[in-house]
């Protein structure tokens, strides 16, 4: 029982990076842009997020607000990368899949290069302390699983209904869904398709950068080349799994996070398989899940992956 609580208590904070990146990717895809560069943007975010507290404190204790600055700057840099991807895929209308791979290599490469230059080896930072919610964290079992994490965990899960509200109840959300579903109709209604796509890409980039910074500041409390480990790609897969809906994406993020946390509790569970099999588990689950969910792609934004050119008749 203890081990089960342990696993579940890890699952919740570990799902945050996937959740944030995935919600960002959801905004991109709802606007019709398939951004495979999520992994690269997360790498940059993770590096920037770690660099700021590290530079200020030299690896020692830093005032809390420098961690916040790290998170904010990481999301700003992420937004700039989203903007860059917009220039390539929205303005120049480059094919999104291959351009995304380019962005991923570019981002991971820059993060690795700057990390080696400014930090050098593995350096830990104090990171964000956990902040149990008074009273609520005292509830047996549930308190430990849900209410004794750092502040970012609560904020991220609160963001799920906010994202739902933005996407389905605001006029901006309607615009995003319109340009991702039928850009030509949206255009004739006076919506600036490219501008909306740019905005969605910047929101998505900011969330991906924030997700990366969460990994380095709040979860691992350090940066390394293997920190992201395909979470950016899993986040893209989660959007398919979650049918482009924030609530289902949250459930998906928790599920994948569960498969990831099992590898840290292998010994407690008394499993004797080599640890590699547990590390590969989430990736195997992604492939299986994709195989079963790709059939019902009717829910996908219809203009997903298609660039819009208002000067060409189709």
């Amino acid at each position: 029982m203890d081990i089960l609580i342990n696993i579940l208590a890890m699952t919740v904070p570990f799902s945050v990076a996937l959740l944030l990146a995935s919600l960002g990717e959801m905004f991109n895809q709802r606007a019709g842009v398939f951004n495979l560069g999520c992994e690269g943007v997360m790498a940059i975010g993770a590096f920037i997020g770690m660099l700021i507290p590290f530079m200020i404190g030299g690896g020692g204790q830093v005032p809390l607000y420098w961690n916040v600055v790290g998170l904010v700057v990481a999301s700003l840099v992420g937004a700039i990368f989203g903007l860059f991807f917009g220039v390539v895929c929205v303005s120049f209308r480059a094919p999104q899949g291959i351009a995304g791979i380019g962005l991923q290599m570019f981002g991971v490469g820059i993060a690795g290069t700057l990390f080696r230059h400014f930090v050098g080896g593995t350096q830990s930072i104090p990171g964000l302390p956990s902040a149990p919610i008074p009273f609520l964290s005292k509830i047996p079992v549930l308190g430990e699983i849900l209410f004794s994490h750092n502040i970012m965990v609560y904020l991220s899960f609160l963001f799920v209904p906010v994202a739902y509200y933005i996407l389905f109840k605001t006029s901006w959300g309607l615009k995003v869904r319109a340009v991702g579903t039928h850009p030509r109709a949206a255009d004739s209604m006076g919506i600036n398709v490219n501008r909306t796509r740019y905005e969605a890409l910047m929101v998505g980039g900011a969330l991906a950068g924030l997700a990366g910074a969460y990994l380095s500041i709040c979860q691992a409390k350090m940066f390394s080349d293997e920190l992201i480990a395909g979470r950016g790609f899993i986040a893209v897969a989660l959007v398919y799994f979650g049918h482009w809906n924030p609530v289902q994406i949250m459930l998906g993020a928790l599920l994948f996070s569960l498969t990831q946390t099992i590898q840290y509790n292998v010994q407690g569970l008394g499993l004797s398989l080599p640890y590699e099999f547990f590390v590969m588990l989430p990736y195997v689950v992604v492939v299986i899940v994709l195989s079963f969910t790709s059939r019902n792609q009717r829910t996908a934004p219809t203009a997903l992956g298609k660039s819009f050119n208002r000067e060409i008749r189709t």
Partner: protein, 361 residues
């Protein structure tokens, strides 16, 4: 619109693209506080100055060329294979498994047999995303990346436990690597570490050209990639050609893995794939998805990859800079292609220039 203008227009766009790449790379180098001209010299020119460097460049060009040929086949058939990294790792494992199991077989049998197994291993790993794409419409971009991670973990498991060098167990150092393979499985070396695999790569380039442009099979594959719906109406079994192109693509990556062990490392070690799988995507695009372009492109990128390994010592720039440049080059290539094929933009620029001229008169 005259032809002179068209040529000039295309040329100037390509020059702008090259300049953009150089400017962005230079900006990153400036952030690192590096000497920009000296860094470019170290990466692009220094490896050419010594014979020892040149052979090292060539051994990196071999896997790049072979994998990029496979990637280009898949790309032409409408599927982007970024899983070459995993397919190569499986190729290495299959090759090593055969080499360790039958060390006493004579070389003319053992070497082709082991290479064939590496081909089959890679083909199997390429077949999985191929069939998922064709039958279940799973995005190959995601499935190949996931299979990369799965292969990497499986590779690490095999090296650490199944194929671990007995000597490592005795010494207790526990470096995850296989035993040194027997000499009857080695590809002959020509100079330095340069091995005969270079001829295999060149022959494959010719074969890929013949397959894709001189046979109906290749035509059908390219048709499935260019216009899959039209191809289907034309009676081409698109599903099969998608799967087949992924099998071929994986087979090439697997072969590259086998040759890398037989020619260069001679034992399965960690990090043998060395990001070749991703670099090969850049090579394939840079080479215009045509063997005649891929061969020089693979040499050029091998130069960058090897040059970048010299950079940390020579100019204090981390070797990861090559990954930055590769990512940048992909983005610039796809963007440039779109601009070049945009006839409307060309027309607009032309009219703008002509109008200006008239005003001057």
């Amino acid at each position: 619109m005259n032809n002179n203008f068209k040529l000039l227009y295309k040329l100037s766009i390509i020059i702008i693209a090259i300049l953009a790449t150089l400017i962005i790379s230079s900006a990153i180098l400036l952030v690192l506080g590096a000497n920009v001209p000296k860094t470019f010299y170290t990466i692009c020119i220094m490896p050419l100055t010594k014979m020892g460097h040149l052979t090292e460049v060539l051994i990196r060009a071999i896997p790049l060329c072979v994998i990029a040929l496979g990637v280009s086949i898949a790309y032409r058939s409408g599927i982007i294979n970024i899983g070459a990294e995993g397919q190569m790792a499986i190729g290495v494992l299959s090759f090593t498994a055969i080499a360790l199991s039958f060390p006493e077989l004579p070389k003319p049998i053992l070497l082709p047999f082991a290479l064939l197994m590496s081909v089959l291993g890679g083909a199997l790993w390429g077949f999985i995303p191929g069939i998922l794409k064709a039958k279940l419409n799973v995005s190959e971009l995601l499935s190949t990346v996931m299979l990369n991670y799965i292969a990497a973990q499986f590779y690490s498991f095999c090296l650490r436990i199944v194929m671990l060098d007995p000597a490592e167990k005795v010494n207790g150092s526990g470096t995850p690597q296989s035993m040194r393979l027997t000499s009857n499985i080695e590809l002959t070396r020509l100079a330095g570490r340069l091995h005969t695999g270079i001829f295999i790569a060149l022959v494959l380039a010719v074969l890929v050209y013949l397959l894709m442009w001189k046979t109906t099979y290749g035509f059908k594959m390219r048709a499935s990639g260019a216009q899959s719906r039209a191809a289907r109406y034309g009676g081409i079994n698109v599903t099969w050609y998608v799967i087949f192109s992924m099998i071929l693509s994986g087979a090439f990556a697997g072969l590259a893995g086998g040759m890398e062990i037989a020619g260069v490392h001679r034992r399965a070690i960690e990090g043998v794939t060395n990001n070749y799988g991703f670099s090969a995507v850049v090579v394939a695009l840079f080479g215009g998805l045509h063997p005649a372009g891929i061969v020089p492109a693979s040499f050029f990128f091998a130069l960058l990859i090897y040059g970048a390994t010299l950079a940390p010592r020579a100019v204090n720039v981390p070797a990861n800079i090559v990954q930055v440049m590769q990512g940048l080059i992909i983005i610039v290539i796809v963007t440039t292609q779109m601009v070049l094929s945009n006839a409307y933009l060309e027309d607009k620029v032309y009219r703008m220039i002509v109008k200006n001229k008239k005003e001057v008169k």
